[in-house]
């Protein structure tokens, strides 16, 4: 699935990295525990999370994930958005709660990232 489609399905606003909307996404992972994220095969996956601090950006970088979606209308601080822009990382925000956002993407064919 293209990230464009993800944006459309979740009615999301783009906070940084707009040029990556043409990229393909392979899978998704929804979680507020960063060490859990790092236990899974999450390369090129989207991270859906309710946390909005800078360690979320670091986790996605370290795990080679391709984008972040903040759920429940959460918007990080200007500092975190600026950091994402500097890293050229696609970050979006959606009004859906984590459960709904994951459900919508799953219903449209995106699959979960699995244990390695």
């Amino acid at each position: 699935m293209k990230l464009h489609r993800v944006k459309q399905l979740l009615n999301a606003v783009v906070l940084s990295g707009e040029s990556h909307l043409d990229d393909e996404v392979q899978s998704g992972f929804g979680c507020d525990l960063m060490s859990d994220v790092l236990c899974f095969r999450t390369e090129d996956a989207i991270l859906l999370t309710g946390l909005i601090n800078r360690q979320v950006l670091n986790t996605v970088d370290i795990a080679n994930m391709n984008s972040i979606i903040f759920v429940r209308d959460k918007i990080p601080s200007d500092e975190v958005i600026k950091m994402a822009q500097e890293r050229d990382l696609l970050v979006m925000s959606t009004k859906y709660i984590l459960f709904e956002a994951c459900g919508i993407l799953y219903a449209n064919g995106l699959r979960g990232a699995y244990l390695k």
Binding site: L33, M34, S35, D36, L51, N53, R54, Q55, N58, I62
Partner: protein, 138 residues
Amino acid sequence: MNYKLAFEVERGDFETAGDASRKIKRTLQQLGISNKIIRKVSIAGYEGEMNLAIHSLGGTILLTVAEKEIDLTIEDRGPGIQDLSLAMTEGWSTAGDEARRMGFGAGMGLPNMQKNADHFQIDSKVGVGTKIAMKFFL
């Protein structure tokens, strides 16, 4: 040819925690190491770096890239770990609220470091510190 890189990580410095591991990742990319190994080293490094910031009194990360292996050594100045087998148990954590708010405290970091490394050795002494030595074979 041996390539070495060292980083200091301060206790509670959550503003810069993660910088060392990201630098390690970029360095390994520049050295032409395979993505598979870079991911393992970066994940183990990042978990170790966050543990230094969250649980230790501060410490160092040392990366050595040799011809056949990458060594990652993470050593701190205390407080040390009382029960190592408990600390290595998935799900066991003493992380406080601040760490949990940032998404840490699942009790998965140390076990995941062990999983990613080809060789993993942890030694700890209460009142002295903890040392984790990891090897990744190239």
